[in-house]
Amino acid sequence: MAITVAQVETNGWILRVTLTGTRSAIALSPDSPAQWAANFAAYALGPNGASPGLTLTATTNGFIQSGGTAVASSTVARTLIATKALRKAVVATAAGVRDAKNPDEIDNGDGTITVRLALSQHIYVGDAGLTLTALAGWRSGSTAQTIAVTNNSTIAAPAPIVRWTDVPYQLQSGSFALECAVVSHHPNALAPVAGVRFTVTDGTTVKTFWATTLSTSPLYPATTGDGAAALALRVYAAAVDPAMATALTKGLLRCDYEVYPWIGPAQKSDPAATKSMTNLGTSGLATAAQVPFVVAYNPGNSWIVPRFAYVSPTGATTAAAANVSTTASTAAATPLANINLAIESLRLWSAANAGAGGTLAAANGQAAITQSVDGCRIRLIAGVTTAATTTAVTYGVNTNATWLVIEGDPAAANPRANCILRGSSSNVASWQNVSRVRFAGLAMEAASGKFALAPYAWCDNFEFRNATPTDTSAYYGWAASPGLVWATNGKWWKTGLSPATLGSQHNPVLVRAVTVERAINAPAVVNCARLPTAIGGTAGISGTGTNVTDAGVGLDRLAIGNDLRFLNGAPAFVMQNVAYSALPAGLVLGKTYPAASRHGFVNNVGEIYGGQSPLWYGVGENTTAMSSENVIEGNTFAGDRVNAWYNSLTLATIALNDIEDCQARVNRYANNVTLKNATKQDAYFDPVVQALRIGVALSSTRNKAYAVGAQIVIVGSPANVYQCTATTGNTAATGGPTGTGSAITDGGATWQWVATETRQHGYRPQALGMWSAAYGVGFEGNIDLESANDSLGSPEYYFEFYGVGSQSLYVDGITIATGPFTLDKSGTANRQPYQPLPDNNGGGNYTPLTTGSGPYILGRAKSANVDVDQRGLARSIPFAAGALGVPAFSLTPAPDRQASRATSPVSGWATTLPLAGNALATRAAVTMTGWTATLRPAGAATTTRAAMTLTGWATTLGARGAVLATRAAASLAGWATQFVPATGRIATLAQAPTIGWTATIGTSAGRLATTATAGTTAWMVTLVVDSDRSTMIGGAGTVTWRGAILPASARSPSAATASIVAFVGGRAVVIDSGRIAIVDRTLPILLPGTATPPERTLIVTGDFRTTIIP
């Protein structure tokens, strides 16, 4: 059984494979999990095993890091796996019963079948080099093979989701930080993207800064604003020094990001890449993500001249420029009675000092700003300052470059608590005529009405509340003057409604490090926290859920690092029912439904403790919706369910329920901890739908032909499903199809009549649009802790596959007796697996336990967009799923290598031993060195043996074979090969005894070898006596020589024995001992006077004075 054809379908996540063989043997009933499994028994894909049965490799377009930047690459490698064989769409019988799930296999009638398999991720259009590696046995009887795969995907790779995490139009006199939060669909380990390129321009010069790693944001306190928890926001950031050559000019600076993912296209705040300076005065004030970040650059106060005005109830009641000063202490001495007067005084100063800062010079492509109060500060002394409405502020005050600041007096004790700005009852405020106002370091109170903001407002280091604290009041937060608001480092409570829930009012752009009691609706919500009930939050009132929605800003929404415990009502996160009149083409998905697209929920904790509500309100709950390119990652949802990609249509009419379908694709759902994650899709039996069918008697009136799934009509890929919508009759004459068992043709479509409508079921066979989620495409590292002992569990809610590295305990039939968290204070009235009764307060600790059921969470996640958990704890792969982790410690035991030694001493090399080629490392233990390489003592160095003498080899010692064993024992070195001492060198014995040569020692002719011992040399050669010489006779000490033994000239034969032989007058003379010598000269001896002096002298005996023969 071999694969003959393989291709990726246009949807990008289904692998269609044709292979030789036959369809699986299946049974359509009973419809039970056991039968489901039996029907798929032929498949052994092993997606979570060490060796998945089918692996698909490809290359794609993306970016890689190079030299501190990110550069484009068309060969970024991808590895996907086939996770599960797809089932057929549900087939419901007339009686309301569906067939058991069975694999989507088609018998091609030619000995091959075609099967459809879910992939772990989407293949994108343009991905190339698709190669499928199949292990033997991935399907019963299949063989191992590698085969090319055709890529028919039309799905474009998603760009990262990016938002600025700081407030624009800040006044900067020197270096400043740029930062943005980034969430990618394809993080690489703990790095979201390959890099971020920041640019800063004054319209002429462009400076570029790269960030290729995450860093902790230096901006705003690392707390929730109420000190509840330390939170670290990890961002891509750059430190910008505008004065660095080439220096940027003063004025508004345009800053942009270009975010380069590992896979997919870049996301840019300036898609047109024009860096337009046109309208820069307002282009950064928007809820959209792809807008420039604008900075008012004012080096040395050379452009903007900041001034001060103070407000005190006892201050001046007439506005005057004289009450304004560039020196804070001077201005403090002449306060004004209210904020209206302060603003007017600032305006008067500007008018009077137009050439000295009152009018901002045109700069960087922006027009001059007259009557500017940009960068001015109005300071409120301690106490309550009521917003006066009796003195209108003159129109024409401008803040087109940066914020006018209304702040508590820094000299006051705890100005955030003691400097109070109270709204007026008329719902108007003087600062409403100022374009942009920053409220900082103070408390803001709504009194008997709404608190009016400026069109663009920034609340920083603030507390916002009702003047008469009552959570049940209907006091609004902010008045209905449409505008935008940024909120950082604050506390926002004791209001009847969330200041941001009314779409007609101010739309928050960024809410960061703010503790809240009510909803936060903003496109960017980071590091915020729900106010604990125990310190002021009120339980049990309507709307206590701190749900996070996107305030109507559909795309590129981020919610990162939020602590949303203490909920007892509304869901924590909502991502549906956002209507779009126009979506980018890639997100339409062929529908015009409301959509949730490009939302990033990352590292959030949600807890339901009293009420009952889904923590994460997913997509498709009793509605039709689209969901694409979302990233739901690293969240912990405790206490209630998550309805992710629900596709529970339950629409108003049966007609809608028969044709509508939610859509989902290219979503990343990773590392999440849920207590119940449910999905529905086509196989969910909806009693409401069933009631609709039966209740309106459709089964008897809606006679229509129908076909369901691939069983009936197979056209194209995937199989199209055709359905007749004729409702007027069951004959052609009455407008409906007719016939029995024969096809009819209606225009270009052929309709297969099956049966008269008698369906009484609650299924929606067409609801396949979210199957990519139901099959866990883009899912990884999730854990669904719903235990098998939870009565809420039901196979109806199964995901077909929950993702690579993911686990659903209910599906796995695992029962957990104990909770997985350090302190579980969740629990709902509708039961909850580990908290039998609802808690009255909430506020649990959802750090996973390392014992009990906790290990299901630990060590599960492999990649993430944030390299720390929600509390700032660093992650290391693998790490815990969910928002909270535990410290991870890695231990590396030292490997041991025990060498077997035979002897004890060591070799001691006096010189360095260079290792040739692949060095053989020497252990530091007690054994000897065994060098496989040649030992070559350098230069004249001496290799020293362990014995007593030195060896000085000038030539290479070539050990035989690969082993040069140096013995340290007492014996000699035994070289297998011959070693030759160089000229003049001496091979020294290491010790006694002598060298024993195994080779023959050849004596040179005429030479005598000397023995080193005291005994007689026994030569094996014959001693030949010349013919005229005496013959030596062996015997008892007597030698008879036939001739004279004549020593060579001047030589003396030395006897080796005790006897010396001489001849005198033809007779032999034997001397027991002594010496015999014949010399060529006369020795100094005494002779008779007549005697002739001898020519030679024969000396016999040792004392020549006694026997002299002349």
Binding site: P887, A888, F889, S890, L891, T892, P893, P895, Q898, S900
Partner: protein, 122 residues
């Protein structure tokens, strides 16, 4: 002349190591099984499948002890030794070292795979 030792000899020794069913992370070198047990800061349970005997990297034979992760911290301290224990016979089978690592309660511990190798005699 060469020296030689049969793999059977090595495997017998390695098989004894493989009887360990506990691997503990400890501070300091324990002298006894009891000391290792009492001083453990983290612990992994071992099974026969966690040991794999194969030819040595240099010569002879080796046993590879599988990596373990997600281990609970039993007590805070500094781990610098890893020991293999056989509780059935209360035997301290083997001790090796590891780079000192401070661990705290509530965390998890992972132990990398490691080997014991016995080489041919030289």
């Amino acid at each position: 002349m060469s020296k030689f030792c049969s793999n059977a000899v090595f495997d017998t020794a390695l098989a004894k190591i493989s009887t360990a069913t506990r691997m503990v992370a400890i501070n300091g070198q324990p002298a006894t099984y009891a000391a290792a047990d009492a001083g453990r800061l983290s612990e992994a349970t071992l099974a026969a499948a966690d040991f794999a005997v194969a030819n040595g990297d240099v010569s002879g034979r080796k046993v590879t002890i599988a990596a373990k992760s997600g281990l609970a911290v039993i007590a805070a301290g500094t781990v610098d030794h890893i020991a293999l224990l056989d509780p059935a016979t209360t035997t301290l089978l083997y001790i090796t070292t590891c780079p000192a690592q401070a661990i705290v309660a509530g965390g998890t511990v992972s132990l990398a795979s490691w080997q014991v190798e016995i080489n041919q005699p030289t």
